[in-house]
Each structure stands twice: as C-alpha cells, then as structure tokens.
Symmetry: C2
Subunit: 343 residues, 2 copies
Amino acid sequence: MSDNDDRRCDVPLHGDWEGDWESASVAQVGEAALLSVLAAQARARDDERVVIGSGDDAAVLDIPSATVVSTDSAVEDRHFRWEWTTPAAVGERAVIAAAADIAAMGAVIVGAVVSIGCPPSTSASVVAEISRGVGVGLRGLQASLLGGDLVATRQTVVTVTVLGTTAGRRAVRLDGARAGDVIAVSGPLGASAAGLALLAAGVERFPELIAAHRVPRPDLSQGPIAERCGAHALTDVSDGLVAELATMSQAAGLVFEVDSTSIPRPRELADAAVLLGADADDWVLTGGEDHQLLATFPPGTVPSGWTVIGRVADASGGDESVDRATVLIDGIPTGRRGWQSFD
Amino acid sequence: MSDNDDRRCDVPLHGDWEGDWESASVAQVGEAALLSVLAAQARARDDERVVIGSGDDAAVLDIPSATVVSTDSAVEDRHFRWEWTTPAAVGERAVIAAAADIAAMGAVIVGAVVSIGCPPSTSASVVAEISRGVGVGLRGLQASLLGGDLVATRQTVVTVTVLGTTAGRRAVRLDGARAGDVIAVSGPLGASAAGLALLAAGVERFPELIAAHRVPRPDLSQGPIAERCGAHALTDVSDGLVAELATMSQAAGLVFEVDSTSIPRPRELADAAVLLGADADDWVLTGGEDHQLLATFPPGTVPSGWTVIGRVADASGGDESVDRATVLIDGIPTGRRGWQSFD
C-alpha cells in the first residue's frame, strides 16, 4: 500500500473559520466550520455514485443493488490511546476498520458517514486532523464522505458507518464454507498486536509494526476479488484469526484445520517477539485488528496474492475429542491450546 | 400517532444471557448477549428488502435506487438527561431524529444501524431498554435493525445511521424553493421546547408536551407524500423553525415570508406558557427537535393534513432593509426579532 503522503491531496484543512486552529477549541470554532473541514476531505462532487453529498438532510446515492452497510466505533482509551497514536491515524483507522466489514461481504466501498464526539475543550486542530485522516482513508478506498455529525462527549469517539454495493453480484456470507474448501488469508497477520506490544513496552524499533497498529492497511479490493474467484465464505480478521475461524466454523458446522507455519507473517514479527520475550504465534493467531480478509475457496480458485493456510473438513465420526464444528491449529483443537477467549 | 404500547410486539428482551439483568452490569452480560437483544427488537427476517440482516460482517439490502443515508447521535447530558427521560425513550427518540432526515429527502425509511456506547458499570437492563426503544421506533416506521455495535464509553451515546430509498423517485433537496411557492409544515411546532421547559421547571402537568420532548412523533410518511405532491424543497424542523427557514432561504436565494398566527401549535402550548410565564411564540418559532417536516410547494399542491404558514418571494428591489435571502416573520426580518442564533 502507498504511504500516507502519497494519498494526500490538496484540500483545505481549516474550512471557513479564520482564527488560529491550534489554540482554538472545538467549542470556539463551532460545528459548522468543523463539519466543513470534514466534508472537504473526501468531497463527493467527482463521484458519480453520489447524487447529493453532505450538506443536505441526508446523502443520496445512485448505486446498483445490493446496498451493504456496517458501523464501527473507535473510543479513546478503549480502542486507542492518544500517547500512542495521532488524530489523523485515529480517523484513518476508523474508516479502514469499518470498510473492512464491507469488503468482507465481497462488496465495493462507496462512502461513509462519520460521527465525531469529543470534549468541547478539544483543540480544533485535533478534529481537523481526525477529519484529514478520515479523508486519507476514504480517498485510499476511492470512497466519498456522505455526511458528518459532531457532538460534545466526555472522551473522543469516532463512529464510522460505511456503505457499499455488491454491484449486482453475490454478497459473500461468513457461514458459507463447504467441506473440501481451502482456507486462505489476503495478507500477513499479527502486525497490529505486535505494534501494540511494542508501544506498551515503550520500544521504538520496528516502525512497520507500530505503523500497522496505528493504521492497518489491508488491501480491501481483495473482497470483491474473492467474490469473483468464487469464495464460499468471507470475513475480516478483526477479533483475531482463531476467533474468526471459530465463528466461520460454528456458522457452517464444519471443522477448520489450519497449519500455523503457513500463516503469512510480517517481516519484523519474529525479531520483535525475541526482543520483547513474547510469543509471535500469539500475535499471529489471536491478535486482532489486522483487518486482513479471511475466506474459504473451492480448491484451485484462490486469488493471486492470497495464502492458503488450511482446509475445511467434515466432522467425520471416530475422534470424540473433535466437535462437529471446531478449529484445529496444527491438529490441536484450539480450546486445548489455551487461547483464553475460547477456553 | 399510536402510543408506545400499541407498537410493542412480543420480542425477547433478555437474549441468551440467563442471569438477572436488573442487577447485572453491561460488562458482566457482555456484548454478544446485549447485541442479540438489540437485534431481536426489529428483526429483518420478515423484511424482503433485507437480504442479510445483522449478524454477518455487514447487512445487505435489496432496495431500489437511490439509497439515502444520514446519521445522528444522542449524547447523555447534551441531548438528554436521565432524570428527565427513560432508556426506552432515548432509543426511540434517536431513531426518530435520524429517520426524520431520510423523510426530509422525500424518501422511505428502510432500516438503521445503531451504535450504543455506555459505561461498563451500566445496568444491562438500561441497554436492553434502549434497545427496546430502538425497536419501537423502527417498527413504527416499518423499518428493520440492520446492525449494531456496543462500546464502552464514559457517558451514554446512541448513534443511529438510517438508510432509506427514494424508490426510483426524486430526492427533494432543501435548496429547491421557487418564488411563488407556499411554505407548509406537516404538524404542530413547539411541543418539544415546551416539554423541556416544563421538565426544567419541575412542572408535571401537560403530559403531551413532556411526552413530545421525550419522544417526538412526527408522521414521517409525509416525506414521500410531499415528494409525490410536488414539493420543491423539503427539510425537517430539528434546529427550530426560523433556523430551518433561514437555511432554506439562503440555499435558494429567496425571501421566506411566514405568518406566525398560521403556524399549528400543540393543544396545551398556550396554557403551559401562561403557567411558566414563558413566550409560546419562542417555542413555536425557535424550539427545536419537533422533527415535523417543512416544505415549499407550488400553490394548490399542498398535501392533506399540512398547514400553509407562508410563501416564498423574490427579493424585489426597493426595500433595502430586506436582504435577498432572508426570513420575514409577520413582515419583520428575523434578525430584528432577536432570536439569538441569527443576530
């Protein structure tokens, strides 16, 4: 993926408020000027799909059926900490996290409505920077800002609702896996968890991992590609690989078998684990928020760039230790490997 | 409109969590059980427009173009106070406020995604009741819950993003007024502001006004009706009548002339104003959050049930005291009547 600077474009950051944004508070600048900054970041005027953009009561989209929608919130001190990230990264990350759910249906991302809550005393430049990050995220997805809302809250909350379209094709559910499918992921896993561990330890090395925690950059165009290649089931890895495999397995009533050595890992992961005395497997298998796509395909139909990590099997009788729907990592049911969320 | 009880249906309030919801916290019950309660309130399974409802990565809708979307947040201590309302009212009101923006495009409401933030110590029954209110609101609009998100925040925040469709017809913008149009509203104004004043004064009389503040119940089916009757411009009264008239006037570059005595008022309004020593005109002209619809129509095309309150005029020369785009209430430019937001 390109870096941040490549995706900037020349948009006004400061709307129609003439004062000093660094020293002014959100309350001083006011909602209208701040919303104009947000709207300017990813203007819909060049997007033929947007009939009416932000500024009227609601946005109006001319998109082919089916319409796809999902929402995601990022909350200060729960999903991010100001000492470990930047306002622009918070905005971009919120867009990507919400957009990943659209890609996870095999759909194309069209645009987003964004609600930003923050304390009235917040520097206006913080909201302008969050807006800039929202714009970077949307432009990187060829998507438009469809509307915004600014409210006063006790901590910063960014809620992004993303709209997409299947463009007349299938929506790929997460429960569609079939016995005999191969399991594949669209990119490396574990970077976000490793980056978080590095930030928590105060280690300033491994900038790619730290950057991946601040803003994951999965290739979400792989969602529609997976659909076209015939994916039977599709989701994104937001809660950790094992958690997503368990959800898909239970939804389909099938066994998901994964070879942990085949899971693609970020370059710096092993070195970072050694430095921190951490278990890189934990980051890869249970770390969340990478937002790579996870799918099952009929054998031979896996798209270029994806990595096969396992296969889907019927729960054939005999081994009573294996439930009908379960996840096996290297042949061992995950419940016995000790990942807490599933014990 | 029917009252709350008429619109309840037999849905589980307590999901698959078996404990005591009154004494349990949100943190104890967990997100999955709470989301199942939310999803159960306005299930999409009987709605042919919803191909995939909540539970997958995103919801999928088969709706005719154009798709309409808007978002609105209700924040504790900013938009509502627990001592003056109930969790169910907060949920229902959030849905109606967001849905009014869809109706204000002349569109039909299809469904909503709802993000609820609250402190982890919040009683699970509070979230269950907010969810019930969301369900009452959606069912009253023949709309479905399309997805939900629960996050831990320091104060309660309910963000509702509503989707609708123009069903192949026009979207009615707020800037489309033409000289010669008549201005009309779909229902009485001032009830919400009066209800708020009564609550603030601790007066327990005039239950209709207090109920209207807790949950406004405009007839949002009047949005598509206004479109079919040929409305040139349409919005909803969320910020107060004068504020909305000023927005429409400026957007169209025309003069909006209103006769204040023609504005429909709630039955109890005059008596409440006398009791509180308040000015009922202030509630009617500047009180927000009634969410009635406000439109301009060609003369003779005003739908049944709407009330004509004025007319749209060109700013013909001569009187320099009247700007090209302005609002006249009883012939007096609003800037001179002293409503603070426009001074």
